[in-house]
């Protein structure tokens, strides 16, 4: 079981040193991705989902960010301990990231061809040297993969000549071009319209299945996760609060935060919207002691104010970090 873990984040702590104190953002994050698996990471703005993934790619600006504990194992090797040479290899061949805003992710002064060919070149499996012609050929294939018309002409275009949906397809092409093992997609459809988002998600799912890549999908929209992921993590204020297979999470959410979040989503069945979750996300300078959710939780108990809940297994593959469910474990 341990061996099929492609990415394994263990007890990751990240803080940001800012004027006036230290923001304790990630507070012991555990997260795993098995090979070939599609994992969703859901949470609201500012919960640390992007920070976690930036730590994985080691693109967090340091300073102000600082990793104060934990490890990030990619195929058994700790990314945090890697030399820049090893890191370059992992980034090129091991994983790729698709960002939320494709306009900001593409360089406006280079053609699509230049950027896509660079992605192909540095991802080339092993140390096999590819000729310029082969690289171009692969770039064209990648554009065909993402269903873009007339790829030869597109390679000569600049990003501004493309629409938002097309730009995101180019970004996906860059990610899938090099047979990488892990694709991290950070809100890939959020800046696009629903019909285009739907196209992008379907494309991502098809490609992931075709080339058997692992995918981490970061989003704040629960519905999007349900469409794609096999397994979902729910994150709140720098902690993972619940993890379950997608079907189970949507039919039996356990953590009060997950339950509140699900209730707040407007449903197509109508009947109004539940009142949401009171309060707002805590201040990271002085986060609440114990469970970080307790000030907003309707079912908070005295223990929640003092102790930090750990993940407990409630069933096979369904874990929740909440004291409401930890008694069950003590009983066994």
């Amino acid at each position: 079981m341990e061996n099929d873990r492609l990415l394994d984040i263990r007890d990751l702590h990240v803080v940001f040193d800012v004027f006036g104190g230290t923001l304790k953002v990630l507070d012991g994050v555990d997260f795993t991705v098995r090979s070939g698996e599609k994992v969703g990471l859901v949470g609201e703005t500012g919960c640390g989902k992007t920070t976690t993934m930036k730590a994985v790619l080691r693109v967090l600006p340091m300073p102000p960010a600082r990793v104060t504990g934990g490890e990030i194992l990619f195929k058994g090797r700790d990314i945090l301990q890697m030399t820049s040479r090893e890191l370059g290899q992992v980034r090129g061949e091991g994983m790729a990231m698709i960002f939320q805003d494709p306009t900001a992710a593409l360089n406006p002064v280079f053609t699509i061809g230049k950027q896509l060919e660079a992605a192909v070149k540095y991802s080339a499996s092993g140390d096999k040297r590819l000729s310029g012609k082969e690289i171009r050929q692969r770039a064209v294939e990648a554009l065909k993969e993402v269903a873009l018309p007339d790829p030869e002409r597109l390679l000569k275009n600049y990003p501004f000549q493309l629409s938002g949906g097309m730009r995101q397809r180019v970004c996906i092409a860059m990610a899938v071009a090099g047979d990488r093992e892990l694709i991290i997609a950070d809100e890939p459809g959020t800046s696009l319209d629903v019909s285009i988002q739907d196209q992008i998600l379907r494309l991502l799912r098809r490609l992931a299945e075709e080339i058997n890549t692992s995918v981490i999908l970061i989003t704040h929209t629960l519905g999007v996760v349900r469409e794609i992921a096999d397994r979902v993590y729910v994150m709140y204020a720098g902690n993972m609060v619940e993890m379950a297979p997608t079907k189970e999470l949507f039919s039996r959410p356990l953590h009060p935060y997950t339950v509140g979040l699900m209730a707040a989503v407007p449903k197509l069945t109508g009947g109004g919207i539940a009142d949401g979750i009171p309060g707002r996300i805590p201040d990271y300078l002085n986060p609440p002691v114990g469970c970080r959710f307790h000030p907003r939780c309707e079912r908070a108990m005295p223990v929640c104010r003092t102790d930090k809940p750990r993940f407990v297994k409630v069933s096979e593959d369904h874990e929740v970090a909440c004291f409401l469910y930890s008694q069950e474990e003590e009983g066994t």
């Binding site: 629409s163 629903v194 285009i196 998600l201 999007v224 707002r280």
Partner: protein, 324 residues
């Protein structure tokens, strides 16, 4: 049935974005809104849905008076908003207010909440104590009184939007335009704002023009829904009917592409219609029915002739050749 409060008839708003040619300069126009008609009844929430670039915000800005219409008319309680010489009537300004999408940019960062909420009161010479009225408004949107002296950036996104709502209600309007009031917010905060808006509607008998791209949200707030595509309305129906029995292929496509969270909702979606292509540039609107290049059921007539609005059932109108 309640009376119509606001009637928009054949509204057009065209923008000249540049010129073509050197000698005979021919203007390049964007037909952002191109012949839109609808009526908002008293006390109802009229939903206007569309993708980006469909012209839904332009409709809002024209109704509130930020733009002058190119053609067509807007009437409030049966009276045109435009008097002689096409000048906007000042006496109806108080009645029509707006809440914008992004409270971060619609609130002046250098003004306190008191100044922001009090501005429309000073502008319209409110009688009575300004301070008391501001407190009353803050209370209405469930904000604590000590927020008066705070600045917008000290507030969370949801709280900022509450301030924007308080400002819109300051002149006691009867009609409020909500332009994507929650799309910049997280779902847990969205729920709170929506429920606040619905409560205020009941309490003050407000009519809303609710603009959003989120159809699931629309299902929960609107009494009637209109869907816009490239400056035109393609379907209007009662909310329940709209979601149960969508006629227009564009409506069906949008409904089938919403990500949902339960199997019950999945069952309500029309059969999966793969969306094709993207919304074309409003500078080069396709001929005939503007949706035909993306329509899976497009016929010959669709590319040559623009369909008219047809009532398919009482209160349910569609602009499409195939639904006849």
């Amino acid at each position: 049935m309640s009376a119509d409060l606001l009637t928009v008839s054949d509204l057009k708003k065209h923008f000249i974005v540049g010129y073509r040619g050197i000698v005979a300069r021919e203007p390049i126009t964007v037909k952002a809104v191109d012949g839109v008609s609808f009526a908002v009844r008293e006390g109802e929430t009229f939903g206007l849905v569309g993708e980006s670039g469909s012209g839904k915000s332009t409709v809002a800005y024209t109704v509130v008076g930020m733009y002058k219409p190119t053609a067509g008319d807007i009437a409030f309680q049966g009276q045109s908003l435009y008097g002689r010489g096409g000048k906007r009537r000042a006496d109806l300004r108080k009645e029509i207010q707006i809440v914008f999408q992004d409270p971060g940019s619609s609130l002046n960062p250098r003004r306190t909440i008191k100044d922001i909420v009090g501005f429309p009161l000073r502008l319209y010479g409110s009688n009575g104590d300004l301070q008391t009225r501001i407190l009353e408004l803050l209370q209405m949107v469930e904000l604590p009184a000590d927020y008066m002296h705070k600045y917008p950036q000290m507030l969370g996104g949801g709280e900022k939007q509450m301030v924007a709502i308080a400002r819109a209600l300051a002149t006691s309007p009867s009609f409020v335009i909500l332009d994507e009031p929650t799309s910049a917010l997280d779902v847990s905060i969205q729920a709170k704002i929506i429920n606040l808006l619905l409560r205020l509607q009941k309490e003050f008998h407000l009519s809303y023009l609710f603009i959003t791209h989120d159809l699931s949200l629309m299902r929960n707030v609107a009494s009637r829904v209109a869907i816009m595509y490239l400056g035109k309305i393609c379907e209007i129906a009662d909310a329940a009917e709209f979601f149960r029995n969508p006629y227009h292929p564009y409506t069906q496509m949008l409904l089938s592409s919403i990500p949902v969270v339960s199997d019950e909702e999945e069952a309500l979606k029309p059969k999966k219609i793969a969306s094709l292509g993207e919304i074309p540039s409003p500078i080069n609107v396709p001929s005939g029915c503007s949706f035909h290049p993306r329509c899976p059921q497009s016929k010959d007539i669709c590319s040559s002739e623009d369909p008219a609005m047809v009532e398919v059932e009482p209160g349910h109108t569609v602009r499409c050749h195939i639904s006849r």
